[in-house]
Amino acid sequence: MRLLPPLLLCLIGILLTYGVCVPLAGAPERLYWRRQVFFVILGLGVYFVVARASLPRRWSAGMSAAACYGVFCGLLLVLVLLVGRSTGNGRRWLSVFGLTTVQPAEFAKIAGLWALAELVNSTSGLRPAEALRRHLLACVAVAVPAALIVLERSLGNAFLFCAAAGVLLVSRWLSWQTLLAGVLIAVPLLLPLGVTVHRLRHPPLAVQAEHLAEGRAGIEARERACGLSQREVGSVLAPGGSEGLFSHCPARFSCYLSREGGWNAEQASRCIQIGGYTGCGYRRGRVTILGYLPRTVQHTDFAYCVLSESLGLAGGMAALALVATILGTILWNGLRSASPAAWSFATALAVLVFLHTAIHVGMGLRLVPIIGVPFPFLSYGGSVTVSMFAGLGLLARYSAQRDGIPMAAAGKADGWPGTPDPAGARSYRQPELPPIGAAR
């Protein structure tokens, strides 16, 4: 049952990909939808392998997490920088025997969060100095892959990883009262931010007239209509100039702050508007079919917009409800898991899924800049789909470990620490929470 929401989302995603890949008469068909079917099947395989596979007795969860971390956050991220395929702005893809490509950053996020969860929860019983050292090590463990991902110029993934890891650490360090206070303080701060963006996008008439009077016409005038030129934004965001790691950011932010928002954002917003409440119908969205929303990104970065154009607000809300169900399932599984590492990982995974969804939807609604984040399970993409299933698989493994399923299924202990009694989790003595940050 816990796989039903993601599988439903995957099904919708495959149908959407089919819709945009089997074009109007005359043009050749693109095979993305078939690949997506393969990716979903592969993801399911990975899910069951991760959730149920037996490991040698001497393999601990920490060791597994560390190995994964080493492979995905170290080896592959370095490899992609050395021999990765360069597309667009960055070098993010590794070719697999010329058959397909993978994006190691997606796997690195899951592996990194898992390793981090194991690391920060392995401090029970340690002396404060040792615990502190481990937490510092955790910070380094976040910083290294994040830096490598930034070097790939995949700032969106770096941000998502840091945000999820940050929530994981903070939830480990702070009490829930402190977290609540932080949220209550942070949320009102979003309001003036939104107002500022709105004012930048819709400057007073006097400012517009001033810009027009300066003789700036056409695109330049529109760019300046937000009150900031690309150069001004760029000087803040991209100190390295046009050749730096952040050289592509000024244009994106300038588009975000401008009234029209750039071609992609404008067409994405148009998709949602034209979809209305009930949508135009499957494969009847003209913005999508006619390619006004570029076909290269329809099924990836703007899958939600395509869904909204086809099925309207109703379809969009259904997808969001499925995501909410997935989030609930993740949190519930983490909550009822016996392991604190499971809870930490569940929190981080939930944050990751949530941020993926929120940013993806926000891009279509022009709430956030266009940074190319896929909708989990809905967007086309092998790496993100398989890595998300792997994350769910890990959580299922934690959950099953509490229920004793792996042992019952395999007939032996899976070898992870904290499961000394193969008879079941009921006799499992929960490790105590580490003292750092806790008022004990």
């Binding site: 939830s171 949220v183 003209r286 006004y292 909550l335 949530f354 609604l365 929960q430």
Partner: protein, 632 residues
Amino acid sequence: MTSSESQRRQAAMVAVLAGAVMGSALLFAAVVHARQASRRETALRTFERDAARLASVWTYRAPVCDRYRTPLNVTVPEYALAVDVSRLRDIRDTRRRTLDLVEAEVSRLAIELWPREAQFRRISRDDLEAHLVRASPMPFILWRNVDTDTVQRWLMVRDDHPGVTLLPLPKRVYHLPDLAAAVRGRTCLTRRGAPGVSSHCDFPDLTMAGWFGAEAWRDADLSGTPGVEQLVLDAVLFRQGTVRRADPEVGEPVCLTLDMHIQHWAQEALRGLRGALVVMRTDGQILALADSDDGVRPTLAEGTEAWRQWLRGNRRDGIHRCLNDQTPPGSIAKLAVALAALDAGVITPETRIECRGCVPYGPHTVIACHKASGHGSLTLYEALRVSCNAYFLTLAERVGWERIAEMMKELGLGQLPGEDMDVPGGVPSRLAPLCSRGAIYTPAYKREHYETGVEALWRPIDTGFLAIGQADTQVTPLQAAVMVNAVATGKRVKPRLFLDEPYAARDLRLSVASREAVLQGMRQVVHHPNGTARTARVEDVVLASKTGTAERGSGAAYRKDVWLVAIYPGDAPAARIVLAAMAHDLSSGGRDLGPRIAELVTAIKEWEMWTDDQRRQWPGTADGEAVCQAQR
């Protein structure tokens, strides 16, 4: 409470908190989404405006026909092979890949159809790239005027070339290309949309438009209304469908009043001369408009460039000598003097006036008669017969320039066709904008054109010049035809070149006796042994005629322009056709033009006995077979 329970409670709190935050965020997204979804209608309108483009659809250009409604200038389909890039490319393809695709397709097609050099032009990569840069939804035309063999070969392989289409394109074909070329006119290619939408028609079709002649004068009728197609274009402007289509409206055929047989004979009559010849029915329908340029100017079978060069060199003289060649009328002006004198009662036809070889206008100024010894005492008939200058100079003194000028104006000189005709039936003539007005030599004219001193004063000798058609009186051959037609019928008709123009004529204040007297004199011009147009005599035909000779220049530049006007037959009630011929640089209207007019009248006499079917058969000209001229 144990520590594990405390821990679980804390985790639950965090879960609730996280769930609340995430739920709020998703709810916020839902609200924003709902707000955007409420703007559906506006967004749809904007999108449809952005995605739709108008393209014009070519229409069938109606034919230009002769008076028997036989098409002369015809539009026929010409087949062309074109490639529809929209159907070949994937929307994700880059321009370079699309270019490769199209190039490969074109190469494959060319090989399969085994190109023939004359028909298949080489398609360069630059041509294809230029089409792609234009991002036009229109098909790219590869080869035009594809013959039937190639079409059949293409039909056999068309399933292998889904992006290639066979397009019917309009082509203008000109039958009898050397007859009345300037009058029938020609089309040229232009890029225009449908009327009313042309200003915002994004893709106006390359279509035919009238260039000169009847094709230009009646362009609005012939061209019809191009259709409009509202296309749905994808993001890179390739055609993805059609929203609506307003079918084009076919133009209306335009029928000329010309008879191709008479036109052919008239052109033959002018061969070797520099002049013009009008053959007109007495109801104003023009049967032939021939000018000597017909042998010089390109035929309609020749290319656009030849015509462009000819028009560039000759346009300032007007499109046709019949309409624009203004020449002093010489002695044919004497018809107006005679009518003015008879109508005013100054003389009777039998009144005799003495010719002594010249008429003095001062101590050293005379105007000589062409017979230096003088004709002696002459009646009006005799004076017209021998075209005596002295008689009409004396008569003009008695009548006065006012009556002569008035009569000339009544007869249509110095006026555009159809002008000053206060009768129902449509004035002015469709020809009026193309014609020259000519001029009547009067004191007002002289004041206007000779501004200084004595030269601007009207002298008695000027009345003499007016009477014998010298000095600055200017007449076009068409005006001469209208004048002589007025003598024959007593009406000033509106000359008509198009069958759909209504008949219009104004009764002149001329007594039948006066006209009959003048006609009698004109008949003697042909049939009397001393008549100046006796060379135009045709057996069994009563012809009334008048010759004229106008002098211009002096010394080495001295030239004579000659005229011959005729009424066929010369009996007033039976008159059906009038002719007016003019030629430059000859010596005598009777001697030089008479035999040619006689041949023409002989042919017309035979033509009158033909049935309509015989008249519909085209004459056997040098290029008598239908000659096609590709226009696209």
